[in-house]
Symmetry: C2
């Protein structure tokens, strides 16, 4: 049911990607020239000022795009994204987070990435906490959180890295690991010494400049590097001017852009930028914005950063220091007005927010500035991963639509990702099914909450039908709790699935336990708020899809009914043992979502693939046990009911190939019930 809300990350309007400059003939400087080469005629490359638009840079590296370049942001590196945004005058924002302390904190932070990612940050960054084992495989480590943001949330991410108290070898190992995990950007910092007193360390690094040099030396141009700027000078610097020169050294050593420490006054930042430019620092300088969110957090940050809070702010805050809401509102107001000054100055291409891992204040500031994308465009109908290896990926099986993180996890070892056509991929080998407890796949709900939603005690299979039905209707169950998720869908119904709500309710009541569906779509604009995706000016299409668990009695009737729908409806029907009945080609995927766009090849991001379905069915059946049955005591009636369903039901998927006509899948189900309700000899 695509119950997951898509978080489309970096989708940007077409105008930033393609420059349709039309130029007059026949000026030679303005047209492509052909050069005769040995092999025949070849088109000369035009640069972006030519009449031929430049498109994405990636196309310049090879003779031919391997993917229809739906979203240049997806293929560019961060510094190129910034450059293109600056050229087009599109302002951006970015968000800073720190790693959580606990595993459940990590689950919450990842949900927050999804929610805040939907507003369209250009990137996020994750701080490096030396005390928290930041380079380890712990689910709370800086590097794992950054990797999750990139791989599973599709967010362009910067990993902080500090160099004090670390050997060169250790730092190189961290960087190698970061690269292996798909991280592409590093914020190079000195970091704070463990002791109060800073002591130079032999064989290590003493300044961020050393770290920048080391990254460039060991990893060449692989990473984009960010460094910190101090609008009022670093607290340990000898002078403001001396600190500026250190900043210039960092940039000269290979840094790509600067993010500043927080400040309380727009003029502080604007003067700093002028001073930087004066000594020859030309890279982007992003102001660090700190919306005041509470009295204690302000005090703490000020202490750490050794900044002074201006008197006029103190005077407002002190009287309301116990009123969190009042302080937050004041902080929002203050941040908005300062940001407006910054943006109006023309010196600020993007704003960087110190979120303190909180949502409300930052989102409100961004909304008031008009930078928060309320109705984000989706580059593809599913959430893309930001791992560089996956940048060409543009086809996925529909089965994982509500579990994209599981799909990404299970395919992380693939060397190549399907591009253009699923059938071009080699036979898929999916990772093992040991991922129910991976933190980024954990349910947002506690065991207690799940029991309230799914039933403290199940009486029969019909109790299960009710859970499914209540999930669809979003009505409270018998004990007054709304069913907000199911094992296959950790989020409420997607807006698209809501289009099918009445029909879904009806069939779930009778034991057609739906876990995925989509309506048929016959050429809606790509800008459609519910089903649209991809660049402007395109059209999107879908074949109707329905996937559900149901009893073997129902399946027997269904198979009889399906004969009437040949070849309009394709089906796969499988039980937990893998007994599989289908009328589809056993190797041929069926495209169920596709889009047609100006000047591009066809994009078909979702397929029903018979081979992957066998991997998905293992996962889909296992979720009954792992997520639901195990909530109950062994041997308890509730657990045995779920176990019975797991052992005896079939997983069914149906595709209505006739997408321009009314979806016939509901009629198929109706016919099935009619047959079941008729005299038994009809079923023989």
């Amino acid at each position: 049911m695509k119950h997951v809300a898509y978080f489309p990350s970096f989708w940007q309007p077409q105008k930033t990607m393609v420059d349709y400059t039309v130029l007059e003939l026949p000026s030679e400087t303005m047209v492509n020239q052909l050069q005769r080469t040995d092999g025949g005629w070849q088109t000369g490359k035009s640069d972006s000022s030519g009449a031929s638009n430049s498109g994405s840079d990636s196309s310049k590296e090879s003779s031919r795009c391997s993917t229809p370049v739906l979203d240049a942001d997806r293929t560019d590196r961060l510094r190129d994204k910034m450059r293109r945004r600056m050229e087009s005058g599109d302002r951006w924002f970015s968000l800073e987070f720190f790693p959580p302390r606990t595993a459940s904190g990590a689950v919450n932070l990842i949900s927050r990435f999804d929610r805040m990612g939907s507003g369209g940050p250009l990137f996020i960054d994750i701080t490096w906490h030396p005390a928290g084992d930041p380079g380890s495989d712990k689910e709370t480590s800086s590097i794992m959180i950054a990797s999750t943001a990139v791989n599973y949330c599709g967010l362009e991410s910067i990993l902080h890295l500090t160099c004090c108290n670390q050997t060169k070898e250790k730092i190189t190992a961290h960087l190698r690991k970061a690269k292996r995990l798909g991280l592409k950007n590093i914020m190079a910092l000195r970091g704070d010494p463990m002791e109060d007193k800073w002591e130079e360390e032999e064989g290590g690094f003493n300044y961020a400049t050393d770290l920048v040099k080391h990254i460039r030396c060991e990893f060449d141009d692989y990473f984009d590097i960010c460094v910190a700027g101090y609008p009022t000078g670093h607290p340990e610097a000898e002078s403001y001017e001396d600190d500026l020169m250190h900043l210039k050294e960092k940039v000269d050593a290979g840094a790509d852009f600067i993010i500043t420490q927080l400040f309380f006054c727009a003029d502080t930042f604007l003067k700093f930028v002028r001073d930087c430019r004066a000594i020859g620092i030309t890279c982007p300088i992003l102001p660090g914005i700190f919306p005041i969110q509470g009295y204690q957090s302000l005090r703490q940050l000020v202490k750490l950063s050794k900044l002074e809070v201006p008197e006029e702010i103190k005077q407002v805050i002190e009287p309301i220091k116990d009123n969190d809401a009042a302080i937050r509102n004041y902080g929002i107001e203050l941040a908005v007005s300062m940001c407006k000054v910054l943006l109006e100055s023309g010196e600020v291409p993007g704003l960087h927010f110190y979120t303190l891992n909180r949502e409300v204040a930052t989102m409100e500031v961004l909304r008031q500035l008009g930078l928060w994308i309320e109705d984000p465009r989706r580059p593809l109908p599913w959430a893309v991963s930001a791992h560089p290896k996956r940048k060409v990926e543009d086809v996925r099986p529909i089965f994982w639509a509500s579990r994209p993180k599981s799909y990404i996890y299970r395919t992380q070892d693939w060397d190549e990702f399907p591009n253009g056509r699923w059938g071009n991929s080699s036979s898929p080998a999916f990772g093992e099914l040991n991922d129910y407890y991976l933190f980024y796949l954990k349910s947002k709900s506690s065991k207690d909450a799940l029991l309230k939603m799914w039933g403290e005690e199940l009486m029969s299979e019909e109790s299960v039908f009710e859970v499914f039905t209540n999930y669809i209707t979003a009505q409270p169950n018998r004990s007054g709790h709304k069913v907000m998720c199911l094992p296959w869908n950790d989020d409420p119904l997607a807006p698209e699935t809501n289009l099918l709500k009445d029909e879904l309710e009806k069939v779930n009541r009778r034991g057609i336990l739906t876990i995925n569906s989509q309506p048929n779509i016959n050429g809606k604009p790509s800008s459609d708020p519910v089903v649209g995706w991809g660049p402007a000016g395109g059209y999107v299409f879908q074949k109707a899809y329905l996937e559900f668990f149901t009893s073997s009695e129902n399946v027997t009737a269904l198979l009889k009914v399906l004969k009437k729908y040949e070849p309009r409806v394709n089906y796969h029907i499988v039980n937990v043992q893998g007994q599989n009945t289908t009328n589809a080609h056993d190797m041929q995927p069926n495209a169920v979502t596709w889009g047609i766009f100006p000047g591009r090849e066809i994009v078909q991001p979702t397929v029903v693939d018979p081979v992957s379905f066998m991997y998905w069915k293992d996962e889909a059946f296992a979720l009954w046990i792992e997520q639901w049955a195990k909530l109950y005591e062994e041997e308890s009636p509730s657990r045995m009911i779920i176990q019975y369903i797991h052992d005896n039901y079939y997983l069914v998927n149906l595709v209505d190939n006739d997408f321009p006509l009314d979806n016939c899948l509901w009629q198929v189900i109706d016919d099935m019930f009619e047959l079941l309700d008729s005299p038994p000899e009809n079923l023989e």
Copy 2:
């Protein structure tokens, strides 16, 4: 304008490809089983009797189809096609031709292949004429004619090969060459000795059996092999029974099927089949049908084959021997009634026709039998090649739509062909432009006829406009001749282009010299007689396309107008020097034809590809000179007019991306003329 009539060769209805047998659960023999292997779960392969349909055999050779299997006939080898037809009960026909004597005969024969190919023969075969240098590179040789039929006409073809008077080495060389040219089927014959008396040759072959063994020995299973059967015994055989045993030897040596010598009575053939079966010959046996087409040809064939014409036929023919039409009608009647008996016997899966390189009689017999496909389905919107290397090919640039043979020729050296997505192909390297005189690219019209159509003497550019306009309207020109072709289109307007006739006439009159176009199509059934292609139950789509030559004055106005149509209309505008103006991505193809089919991935057979366009424009401009200017004396005014157009006009292509709306390209042209008609300052 797709002026070429597509000849879709082997398209067969869906039912022969897919067996949608639905079986009841849970019988284990009837469902796919999953086997646990080390790597994880893998689907077990079902055979064609399973619930999972078998699809094409090719899918069984690899884990994944590389192409959406639009047409299983396209990927199967001939013996598998026969097997599937026999399983499904679909009767077929095949056609025998002999190589022509002259080059112009070759041009005519190839046109005949196109026309007769459109009726849907399962295969054709080309006889081997030892006296005509049959293995040479001459355009009239057996091997070149067979290769042309396969590669350029897309016809499954069998090359005859005789072994008498040839060394093993020579025969191996012929077979190697045949394989290199894409031929996959050999009719292995002894052949007739040069002298009347047959003498065994040392180091050579004496019987067809030896040739069959040699082919299997040297080329393993590469070729499908056909051998000849003699329903009344070979004239040189010791006895009918002895000849049957020789036939069994040939089959045992590795032949796949049998085609018989002609006969005059159905019972002769049916007895022969029974006798073959009795001695254990199980392969298909195809009756050779010879519709009597004239008195002389009958006499000659009877003499060669040493057959006797039955008395009752002689009695009918002798009195009308000078009346060709009467004899032909009698021959048709005789053949139809004999074929009906054969087909009704149930022993005959397909009929093989000795055409004598003539069309009328054979086509009429096939029409009366209901075997001639009047409205053939097209597997793709363009004519596919039957070369095994090209069997995955399913994307081509639109530019060669009317010159598919040129496209096939210029891409014959590619190692891989675009499949699924044009962008997956490596940078295309097109063959050189030296092919105007290749016999399969020659115009069907003589120089004299071309001058009559295109003008003995041109007065101005407007004379050229008139030629284009007359081609579109199919009206006689000033000297009373219809313009049946243009240098870019050797055939009259395609039915699809006729949809645009009025608009095309209007713009050609004013110097928009159109050479290619297609209307927009928003989801017509794949069975549509004009624009449909691909399997049943699908939908086809097109973006409107227009390609034309026009003056630089027009182009200047056009570019101004096109600004209003951003980004709806993509364009490429290029002159003969290669100065190119475009608003499209310089590497990204634009899909302009695509189809959606049950249970398949999207197929997008036609693209506007910016890189290939540069190769096409060389060909398109050169055709002005090679095909038109050179009709006139050097320095003649006519020639100078064409030369001027060649040197100064631009080649323009336009795509309207908004396929669901009314085609806006005519409005673009209207706007351009309006701008040209307005005061000159508007153009500045």
